[in-house]
Amino acid sequence: MNCKAAGKHIEQYAEGCLRAETASEVKSHLASCGKCASELKAYRKLLNFAAEIRVSDPGKEFWDNYLPNLREKLSAPAPWYNFLKKPLTASVSVVLLLLIVLAPLAAGRISRAVRVRKASAASLETVMGKISSNHEWFAAAIEEYQLASDASNVSEVLSSEEKDRLVAEMTAELMD
């Protein structure tokens, strides 16, 4: 094993992570290579420094109050929104919320559509009625006109009062 290959394995060798065969090759190389042996030494030195680093202890008062503080938190009532932290209940809540918000909107749209349809049907009926009655009126008028045409002169068939009435009635019907 050369230095390059050994260099890749030194840390794993130090941590005991290599297979026996590779570990043995690294060990042999380290015994004969001062440079790689000093690499191993540097690695161990670094970890020793790290292990010696102490964090500051929060002190006796903190530790004395640790359990009482925890007990206080445990006995405090859970906040009302706590159920949202559980994925299942959160999903169900979102669906319910959407239903609560969207259902009236959807219902409103449906009832408005029904109202519009009913209104449309009613006005269609009125229009049809008018058309139907107008149809009779127009049919009568057309018949009269045809009679007049047959006579080749309307003025000969209708008096001036009848012509005025007919025009007035037609105007009124058209304006309605």
């Binding site: 670094l46 970890l47 790290a50 680093i53 964090v55 929060p58 359990l67 925890l70 445990l74």
Partner: protein, 190 residues
Amino acid sequence: MSNQEVKVNSGQEDAEWIGLFLQGKEEAFNRLVLKHKEKVYFLALRVLGNHHDAEEASQEAFIKAYKALEKLKERKYFFTWLYRITYNVCMTRKKTARFTESLDSAAELRDNSFGQGEESVEKDQLKQAVKEMMGILPRQQRAVFVMRIYDEMKFEEIARATGLTTGGAKANFFNAVQKIKKCVRAKYEL
């Protein structure tokens, strides 16, 4: 008594207390807290880097454990389970304060090295460099590094406590080591 035997005995004690707690004896949970509070707090402190977040995270971990204790099947592995909860809390927690641990201790190290020899000062500077680099490692790498160096956990144990594979735990550890080494070597001779 070997390290392994201590762990097994400790696990059996935990299992007994959990049994009592589930029978309605609240006091048994207090015993679990008093026994493990320091390890839980210091893991959180080393990972999150400040006292306030560490206190909150460690208490949150105990509260989660309290609520889910009846679901724990292997009671003798309570501590590994609790450590995993703590790790998860630390990974998901939003930091409310900066990573101050290294700064506090920088002052502490300066005070301690006052009046000491040049070698000791250099050693403290090196320690400080390692500590600062630990502070900027990604949280997962830092957590794995902390478990390996300070809790002397095996990679298999780290994997159980973090949910990583054993290979993943090793990769995180060696990546952390590489970064620290590179940073320290840029300033000092190892």
